[in-house]
Symmetry: C2
Subunit: 235 residues, 2 copies
């Protein structure tokens, strides 16, 4: 679907963004070897801009390189997922100190309203996933982290957000997560920093615990993703 003609200028920029998207949406699953020759034919460019894009993805932590075997998508283990949640807890509860007074009341009330609509079951299964993904990104990334004043924290979190997006696709406890969001949002609405921090920490701990074991090889990933895509079609 990306088999378009790439503009002459900025090949590697475009390839970088396409590959990043493929990794984040799991269309290139964790642990998959990256075939430069195949990409070169797909995009009809030489190997050079592809290698440059891959080097930037290595810098971002999404791709690994080994001299003898080349480039591959970073594998993602159960321990990685737990590490991400633990680090999110540290960074997000810290960010909340500064962001709580910068989040506007109408934003909190908007998210509360949407959350309650989802809890009332007014939307279809496929819409639920889509709306929840947006709400989750809005609450954690744009508001809690994005409104804090520490630019370095925001930069690091942006890199981590790619991993969070990868993991988000494999999480099935949407309703429980929305209830936890409501708890956080109500504390934010009251301006109660300590209660908001406690609810946020509990929400991230529960999410970490609810993560089912990840596939442990590229083959297992492909089976798991096939199941998810069949589910999506059934809806």
């Amino acid at each position: 679907m990306y088999n378009m003609e790439l503009k002459k200028l900025g090949y590697s920029d475009q390839i970088y963004e396409i590959l990043r998207q493929r990794i984040v949406t799991l269309s290139l699953p964790p642990g998959r070897k990256i075939d430069i020759g195949k990409l070169s034919r797909e995009f009809n460019v030489s190997a050079t801009p592809i290698r440059e894009a891959l080097k930037r993805l290595v810098e971002r932590g999404l791709v690994r390189y080994r001299k003898d075997t080349g480039y591959w998508v970073v594998p993602l283990t159960d321990k990685d997922v737990q590490d991400i949640f633990v680090l999110r807890k540290v960074l997000e509860t810290f960010a909340l100190n500064e962001s709580i007074h910068s989040i506007r009341l109408w934003e909190i009330e908007g998210l509360l309203k949407d959350s309650r609509q989802l809890l009332a079951g007014d939307v279809s299964e496929s819409e639920l996933r889509k709306i929840f993904d947006e709400m989750d990104e809005l609450l954690h990334y744009r508001l809690i982290v994005g409104r804090c004043k520490n630019e370095f924290l925001k930069t690091f979190y942006t890199i981590m957000n790619d991993y969070i997006a990868i993991v988000r696709h494999l999480n099935e406890r949407i309703m429980a997560a929305i209830e936890e969001h409501v708890e956080i949002l109500e504390a934010l609405k009251r301006g109660d920093l300590e209660a908001a921090k406690v609810s946020l920490a509990r929400h991230l701990d529960s999410s970490a615990q609810a993560c089912r074991p990840l596939p442990r090889s590229v083959e297992e990933w492909e089976v798991a993703l096939e199941e998810v895509s069949i589910k999506k079609k059934e809806v």
Copy 2:
């Protein structure tokens, strides 16, 4: 001094590393515009591998890009420095939970011995700076952060470590910092996690407070760096 012949293969890799070093050692000071044409003549290569190296440095947060003006070294403000120390405190005190039992006794005792030698005044002024820089990196980066098991925290900290290195060159309270290191090391030796955390947090707070106002423009940076280099020659 880098005016060597670059190997035909991996131009952009080498240029990336040279530019990263120049930024971290302040030979390319914060806020300096990067002149692609000049680098192209210096390294005797086309603009393409230089641009690729710059894009990777943007990914790493050391270089900024704006469409109309091109590439320049990230400016560094007093607020950035404070943000770095605050975030270091969050990440390092957290990392210490896991690393305290992985740091070996002989490493702690070695650092304690070196610290006491420096405090006793047994080394020259120029050696003091060099040995302190190594000790500081060893304690904070290799041991406290490096021995923790959270791979994501380590990755982010590695990026932040480039900024820490930039700032380290402008810090003049070496003796006080060594005394604080001794306090942390003694707590580590006793295996006293809480005391080690308190000492570490206090050390980072003091370091943040002791930072003198940074130069606010490229011109001011150049004057400040000139003074540092004159001091070095006088020693």
